[in-house]
């Protein structure tokens, strides 16, 4: 009985109910009846093929970042830098995509953009990885700081014509890049009315591969060993520095690839704030999932649904979208607070 009460799924359900009640109160505060609010929320989550598609896209971005986070986490590193890696990956992905000729075929264009994004994010994370390995600087602090520098790199890239800004023809020219050539855009999958793109497949594949590598390969075992005790691993002859830098680089790479995917999704341009803070949300998904890739996919899906439901809540029911942000963060805080009980149950 006690064990069941302490089960993470039960605790999560209770947290969800509490957060949902708070959400209904907020909707009521804005003068919307609970029934209308719930209708609008569900409509925005899964009501139409369009809603399902965009929810899945958001979930996939979060899942990619969280899957990468899990790799570094296995090596005992907390990657707080998803947001910066996402930004830099978006910049390198866009740069590669824009360098391609207009008529590039999709089987060349899409991989080029994705690989460029992965490389950009991985390089960005490696700065923190190298500082950790060479100088022992806490990766929590360096990745946190690199978020802001990464956002600066993005802002610089979209504001300077010498970099990625589209040619300025009038005062109304927005500070963003030119659109990617058609061959560099992520292809749509599934129903014609749904905006779901290849990123959904990529995210599931990434989670699968990460799960397999961590559980069934020597590399996974080595990463786990470093995570448990870097000193003992070093004595066993493992390349601790290499594993730490590598783990963080994969985390950054997946976040960077997610950034490249965002750029290669409609409207196919690199703009400031294209990340929508997904880097931070992805970090929260990764931390809540506590190393389980199944949990990564489930929590990412939940967050994707909530985000898109919230947008519709504002459009259709006139409830400020901020109230969904409140519900979402309440949910996370409740789960984070309750971990002390679920952890005891696990022991």
């Amino acid at each position: 009985m006690i064990a069941a009460v302490r089960h993470p799924v039960f605790v999560g359900a209770v947290a969800a109910i509490v957060a949902a009640c708070a959400g209904l109160l907020l909707a009521a505060g804005a003068g919307t009846s609970p029934a209308v609010a719930v209708d609008a929320l569900v409509e925005g989550m899964t009501g139409t093929p369009y809603a399902i598609g965009s929810s899945l896209n958001t979930a996939a971005v979060l899942a990619l970042i969280a899957a990468g986070f899990t790799v570094a986490y296995r090596a005992g590193l907390v990657n707080v830098g998803g947001e910066g890696q996402l930004c830099v990956g978006g910049v390198t992905g866009a740069a590669a995509g824009l360098a391609l000729p207009q008529g590039v075929p999709g089987w060349i264009g899409v991989p080029v953009v994705l690989i460029a994004g992965f490389a950009g994010g991985a390089a960005w994370a490696s700065i923190a990885g190298l500082l950790k390995a060479k100088r022992g600087t806490s990766e929590v602090i360096t990745t946190l700081l690199l978020n802001f520098v990464g956002a600066g790199v993005l802002a610089l890239a979209v504001h300077e014509e010498a970099l990625l800004r589209q040619p300025v023809t009038s005062a109304e020219t927005l500070p963003q890049s030119a659109p990617l050539p058609p061959g560099a855009r992520l292809p749509l999958i599934g129903s014609i009315e749904s905006p779901a793109t290849l990123i959904v497949v990529l995210a599931v594949a990434a989670a699968l591969i990460v799960a397999l590598v961590l559980r069934h390969t020597p590399t996974g075992l080595r990463l786990t060993a470093v995570g448990h005790s870097p000193a003992a691993s070093a004595r066993l002859g493992l390349g601790v520095a290499r594993l730490e830098v590598g783990g963080l680089a994969v985390a950054g790479g997946l976040a960077g690839a997610a950034g490249a995917c965002l750029v290669a999704t409609a409207p196919y341009v690199l703009a400031e704030h294209f990340s929508s803070g997904y880097g931070f949300t992805g970090l929260v998904v990764g931390l809540l999932a506590r190393g389980s890739l199944t949990a990564v996919l489930a929590i990412a899906l939940l967050f994707g649904l909530l985000t898109n439901g919230g947008i519709n809540l504002q459009l259709a029911a006139g409830v400020p979208a901020a109230s969904v942000q409140v519900v979402q963060s309440l949910l996370v805080l409740l789960i984070a607070a309750s971990m002390i009980w679920t952890r005891k149950g696990a022991r």
Partner: protein, 305 residues
């Protein structure tokens, strides 16, 4: 030229005031081992409550009191989560910020609909001193909250330094909770006090933003100033006076952003915005001077470890 320089300096000091307040508290909290990323949320909530209080009561001082209470409330949540419940400090910090952003944006939709200006603080120039060229307007022509910011930062930097028992106790808790506990220090109490102190100063900093700078509340008015306060502590290598210096420097870097076009200088704004983070990165990685974070930073305390 000297007019522009004067402009940059006084703008810098004005922008540094909320940073100083917030990072003065944040420094104490980080020394005690709690990485308060929620300082951004505390400031934002403080700014909102300050503006709401000033609007309802029509008094700026009452607004400041509201901001103080609001900052303390967010800090209490953070303290319960990270000290008593030992929840992950990074998750709770970032999420508390999201909660504050959501809640204040929601509240602003309902409360501040007419966009009118609020009761606020005006500058109080000190008669003779503000006439000093160059630094006079910067240091001696601030609002009451601005002077308070400097007073609080100086008091905390001195009063909680290692010269005194309290400062030593804070550092002991931040380095190694178990040893501190064995020495009889009230670890949880000290951490609670440190986080609540941050809430108080961050609330005041929020009030400074809303009531001294613009006399209004806008969505996400802090826009990362709270994170910048955390960064100032890192750049200051967890020492008081370097942190104060970092705040002042960050303020000037921000002011430069507005002043550079006036002197016909084309410096891309993103470069100036990024400077503080690069400096902090260099400082923390030991590339300029030695730096060491409190070893118990983000480590929760449990007696049966």
């Amino acid at each position: 030229m000297s007019a522009v320089l004067e402009e940059i300096l006084s703008g810098g000091v004005r922008l540094a005031a909320p940073l100083l307040l917030a990072s003065a508290g944040e420094l104490v909290s980080e020394r005690a081992g709690v990485l308060n990323l929620s300082v951004e949320g505390m400031m934002l909530t403080g700014a909102f409550a300050g503006a709401a209080g000033a609007m309802v009561t029509g008094s700026a001082v009452a607004g400041v009191a509201c901001a103080l209470v609001a900052g303390l409330l967010v800090a209490l949540i953070q303290a319960i989560l990270s000290v008593t419940l030992r929840a992950d400090q990074i998750v709770t910090g970032i999420t508390a910020n999201a909660l504050a952003l959501g809640a204040t944006t929601y509240g602003a939709r309902l409360l501040f609909t007419d966009g009118s200006s609020l009761e606020g603080f005006a500058a109080l120039p000190i008669p003779v001193l503000s006439e000093i060229p160059l630094i006079g307007p910067a240091l001696f022509e601030q609002t009451a909250l601005g002077y308070l910011a400097f007073a609080v930062a100086a008091a905390l930097a001195f009063g909680l330094s290692r010269r005194f028992t309290w400062g030593l106790a804070i550092d002991a808790v931040g380095e190694d909770t178990l040893t501190a506990d064995r020495c009889g220090l009230p670890v949880r109490l000290i951490r609670y006090a440190a986080v609540l102190l941050t809430g108080a100063t961050a609330g005041l900093a929020g009030a400074d933003l809303a009531l001294a700078e613009v006399h209004a509340f806008s969505d996400n008015i802090t826009g990362g100033v709270g994170y910048l306060a955390v960064v100032a502590v890192i750049a200051g290598r967890w020492r008081a006076w370097p942190t104060v210096l970092a705040c002042l420097f960050f303020g000037v870097a921000q002011a430069l952003q507005f002043a550079a076009p006036a002197v016909g200088l084309h410096v891309p704004a993103p470069l100036l915005v990024t400077i503080p983070y690069v400096i902090a990165l260099l400082a923390v990685s030991g590339l300029v001077g030695r730096s060491r974070a409190p070893s118990g930073l983000t480590v929760p305390f449990a007696r049966t470890a």
